[in-house]
Structures are given as C-alpha cells and as structure tokens.
Amino acid sequence: MIRHLAGRLGQAALLLVGVSFITFILLYILPADPARQLAGRSATPETVETIRQQLGLDRPFHEQYLRYLGNLVQGDLGRSYTQKTEVAEVVAARLPPTLLLMAAAIVVELMIGLTIGVLAALRPGSRFDQGAMIVSFIGVSTPQFVGGILMLYVFSVQLDWFPVGGYGTFRHLVLPAVTLGVLGAGWYSRMMRSSMLDVLARDFIRTARAKGIPEARVVVVHALRNAVLPVIAMIGIDVGLFMSGAVIVESVFGWPGIGQLAWQAIQQVDIPIIMGVTLVAAVAIVLGNLIADLAAPFVDPRIRLR
C-alpha cells in the first residue's frame, strides 16, 4: 500500500515536471513581452531592459527553466504581472470557492446521474429508459454557457429565486452547482446504466434473487456495489476537470474560483497566473485519479494494491 502510494506519487511528480515544462514554453510562444508589460506603456527602452535583466529574461532558455523549476519546488509560482502579488497567494485565495463548487457539482451529478442510470437499467428499452437517455444526451451535449445562461434567465431573472451571481451564501452556490451537475449528470447516467445492465445479467444476481431477499436489496446492495466502480474512476476525472474546466460556469455566474481567475488572466495575458493555474489543474487531475485509484479497493476487494 505504502509502496504503491510512493510509486504513484513518483509518477505524479514526473508528470508535473512535464506539465511545468510545457507551460513554461508558453512564455516563449506567446507574443507578449513580460518585461514591457511590467514596465508599462510609458517606460523607456532602458527601463524595459533593466526589468528584463531583473527577471532573468535575458538568460538562456534552459537556465530560465531550471530557475523556474527550482522556485516551483519551493512553492514559488512567480509574481503576477497585473496584480503585483505572488501567484501562489492569488491561486490559494481562489481555491476554496472552486473546491466548494466542485464538491457541490459532483454531489448533484451523482444524485441525478446514479438515480437515472439505475432506474433506466432496471427497465431497459422502456419509455423511461429511452427518455432518460435522450435527456442525458442533451445534457452532455449542451455547452455550459448555454446551460448556464438559460439557468440564469429562468431562475434568477424570471423567477428571482436565486441571485444572478456572486459568492458567499448557499443561494449563490445553487445555480452554478446545478448547471455543472445537471450537464455532467448525463455522463454518469449513461455510464451507470450500462454498468448496471452488465452487472444485473451476472450470475451472482441470480443467486441473490434465489435467496428470496427483496428485489430492492438485490439492486441496491448486490448490483450497485459492483456497478459503481467505473463511477469512482469518473469522479476522479471530474475532480481534475472541475478544478480547471469550470472556467465558463465560474465566469457566467461570477464565481470567484480558479476558472474565473484563469479567464481573467488569459484576457490580461498574465502569463505567471496562467502557468500557475495550469499547474494547479494538473495537480488536481493527478490527485483526483490517485484518490479514485486508492478508493477502488475499498469497493472491490479483488483490486489489491501492490
């Protein structure tokens, strides 16, 4: 277990070095000159040159990268161009809202997705099943900005049940979480349906029925526990996705999370922030998958960690 964990963490570290390298290349590919940006519009060429030297931008590529990596290891993500503060601080301040939104969205996804998936699997081919799968398909194919704006229009503007945007209370959380959750639930319901159908056809379900236990127990205890395994892997993926990919929903609802930060940074070409957010997202994806891997043996004892 410990050895497995150490191995996985080692892999994760390597992966993150790779990500840091790719994001670092951004600095070179993007046409924006950081020194000029920092200096401001009215700066003289001399000032810009001084700043360039201060930042070490005149050094060769490999030297710059190694210094960046060295700082990274010490938790120094660099300084924001526009906000004149440490990137680490800016990102850290945005983490709690994003984590909250992520957790809430995953709860909504699971509640809707698993319920629909299981019910559809119990009556494959029924009207409910067909309807549920069409709705799921619409859910997964609806762009978040369409879904989000639609939610805003109906529940904030027309019905005035929830605030139009912002952060702070539970009421602020509902619309963005439901938007992410409802749109994402389609993946879960479709996966849960096929996984349940597969499990319900297995021999041990027949054995469980032949014991004379209630059908609800056959489905919820015997089948669900087996069918939920792929869902756990999917939660792991979602954790990573929502850390980075809630950009649109966070922007639509004015949710002060990582996604909104990324959106603003991209608009302002604030490269250190973009790099920081990318790195945090990569860490989240790696961690999400790691947690899913570590959780799997608790659901299925046949999976043993080496």
């Binding site: 297995r202 021999d203 041990f204 027949r206 054995t207 469980a208 029925r209 032949a210 014991k211 004379g212 236990i213 209630p214 059908e215 015997h222 526990r225 087996n226 659901v299 299925d300 004892p301 046949r302």
Partner: protein
C-alpha cells in the same frame, strides 16, 4: 428413497420467448414430479429447454423475455405460477433452494462469504446474531468447509471453485428447503470435485429429506445420482422412467441414441462412437409431428404428421409411435 406423495409437481407447463409475432413456444406440455428425499434428473442437450423449464417452474426465470403460457407448478399445495413476486420471494431460499452451474461467478465478488450466508438466513428467520452464527458455522462444517470462522471473513476470490460450490450449497440449504434445484451444479468442476460434490449432495438429501431437481446434460451423473429421470428433447419430455429401467431399456429412440453415443470403458475403440445425425430443430421450426422424427432411424410417415403424446408404459412413460422394443 422413493416417495409416494410428490412435494413438487409440474403439470403441462408451456413456456414461450419473445413478444408479438416473434413469440415462440420453447417448452410445451412438460410434466414431472419430485418426491420427498427423491432426486429427479432432467436430462437433455443444450437448448432443449431443461433449465428454462425448471427455473420457470419456480418463478426464477426472468420474464420478459420468457412467458409461462400455461400449466401449473405446485410446491405442496401452492401453485407457484399463480403467486405474486413477493409471495414467491418468501419461498425462494426458504422452501426452495437453488444451486447454480458456475461457482466462480455465482457469488458476489464484493461481499464476504459471511455476509452472503447471513443474508440468506436473515431473509427468512428471526434469529439473534449469535444463533445465526452458530447455524452458519454448523452448515459450513456440514458441507465440508474447514476453518469456517476464517472463511466467513473471506471474499469469494480467495476460495477455490470446489469451496465456492460448497458455500453455494450451504447457502441454498441453510433454511432447510423441501426442494433443491441443482442446475448443472458440477458441470464447471473437474471430475474429482464432481464426485465429491455429488456425494455431498446425496448425503445432505438423505439427511435433510429434501427432493432434488437435478438439471444436467451428463448421463453418467444421472446414472450415479438420480432416482428417476426425465429426458427432454426440443422443449418436451420424451421419456421419463426410473434410472435403472431407463438405462436398461430405453424406449424412446432419442434416449436410445443418446445412451448409445455415450462412451463407455468397455466399448470397442476401433468402432467410432455412434452420433445422432442432424440438428435439434430450432423453436418455431417444429412442425406438427414428432420433433425427433427428422433424425429418428425408426420414423414412419405418422411420426411426421402427428406428435406422439406421453403414454405410461411398464416402468415409465414415453412419447413415441414406434418405441424401441424392450430387449
């Protein structure tokens, strides 16, 4: 160990699959009965409808896609086919135990053996935890599982196939059923284990007095283990008799051919093993005549036109216009 009053009796059972225009009769007019402490073998090749017949008769065949079109299946004086699912569930596991074919896949992989046994017992009894554990331990010991307290904490994948089949037998018998349905319980096991499991089932039957409905395609197992046998072909019982009579003097040409095509230790190795020519007609392509007529060496014109009905003979019953003469 034969018995006068049957504990389980199936009469004129008819089953079809599919719906609408595709609906096809797969089992027709099947009748059999099992007495207390008696073992009835249901024999036939794959696809003859033996499993469907037996599982449908106790309501365990999923419907749809199958439908029971007619007939009755009485456990004592209860017609199982007339029961609602809830009432059926009260009988499954308590008065009817089932052991399925493949022990490797018949236990839930994510729960311990203990949980799966406890659940079977708890569904039909109101025992205290301590009483339940005692009964489970005793049952595990009875089916020949050593160190039962350790087994209870183990998961199915930690047990061998033979052990798992013993666990499944313990699970089926834990509430002391009157009827045990064994659907090819030894087919997935190797020969040594097969013999052990059969011996165990026989001992348990003699001890607990339940009737066993034993579904198999293996005539050797039937000869060893069953009291009576019903031979099924293309969804019908073509012959039923006491095992000794059937093996000594099969009357239906299909039974005769089946026995002739079973390898024996004393058969001449230079002569190829006889086979039954042709194929079982698929459901839906069975005409009005005898289903076996197309493959039957004794077939006459009447066989193609009129299906023979099961008539009682000296030692059993057979459905044939031109039965094999008694030697």
């Amino acid at each position: 160990m034969n018995s006068e009053l049957p504990i389980f009796r199936v009469d004129d059972l008819a089953i079809s699959f599919g719906s609408g225009a595709q609906r096809t009769r797969v089992v027709d007019g099947v009748s059999f009965h099992v007495g207390r402490g008696e073992t009835l073998g249901i024999v036939g090749e794959s696809g003859c409808g033996k499993s469907v017949t037996v599982m449908s008769s106790v309501g365990l065949q999923p419907s749809p896609p199958s439908h029971v079109d007619g007939g009755s299946a009485r456990l004592g004086d209860v017609d199982l086919l007339a029961l609602r699912p809830k009432a059926l569930r009260r009988l499954w596991g308590s008065r009817i135990g089932v052991v399925f074919q493949d022990p490797m896949t018949s236990l839930n992989p994510v729960f311990t053996i203990g949980m799966q046994l406890r659940e079977a017992l708890a569904a039909h009894t109101n025992l205290t935890d301590a009483e339940r554990e005692t009964r489970i331990m005793a049952m595990l010991a009875r089916v020949g599982i050593n160190a039962p307290e350790r087994r209870l904490r183990q998961y199915p994948h930690e047990l061998s196939g033979g052990l798992r089949q013993r666990v499944l037998i313990a699970m089926a018998l834990i509430c002391g059923p009157e009827l045990l349905i064994a659907d090819e319980p030894t087919t997935a096991l190797d020969v040594t284990l097969q013999a052990q499991i059969l011996a165990l089932l026989r001992d348990l039957r003699d001890e607990m007095g339940m009737g066993i409905l034993f579904v198999t395609h293996d005539l050797g197992v039937v000869a060893q283990f069953c009291d009576r046998v019903a031979v099924m072909y293309a969804g019908r019982v073509v012959e039923s008799a006491r095992v000794d009579a059937l093996f000594r003097a099969p009357r239906h040409p299909y039974t005769h051919a089946l026995l002739a095509s079973t390898p024996r230790l004393d058969s001449d190795r230079r002569v190829p093993l006889p086979t039954i020519e042709g194929m079982v007609p698929p459901p839906g392509a069975r005409g009005t005549g005898c289903s076996f007529a197309a493959r039957c060496p004794r077939a006459q014109p009447i066989c193609l036109g009129t299906a023979p009905s099961l008539v009682a003979g000296q030692d059993g019953a057979f459905a044939c216009h031109h039965p094999v003469p008694v030697p």
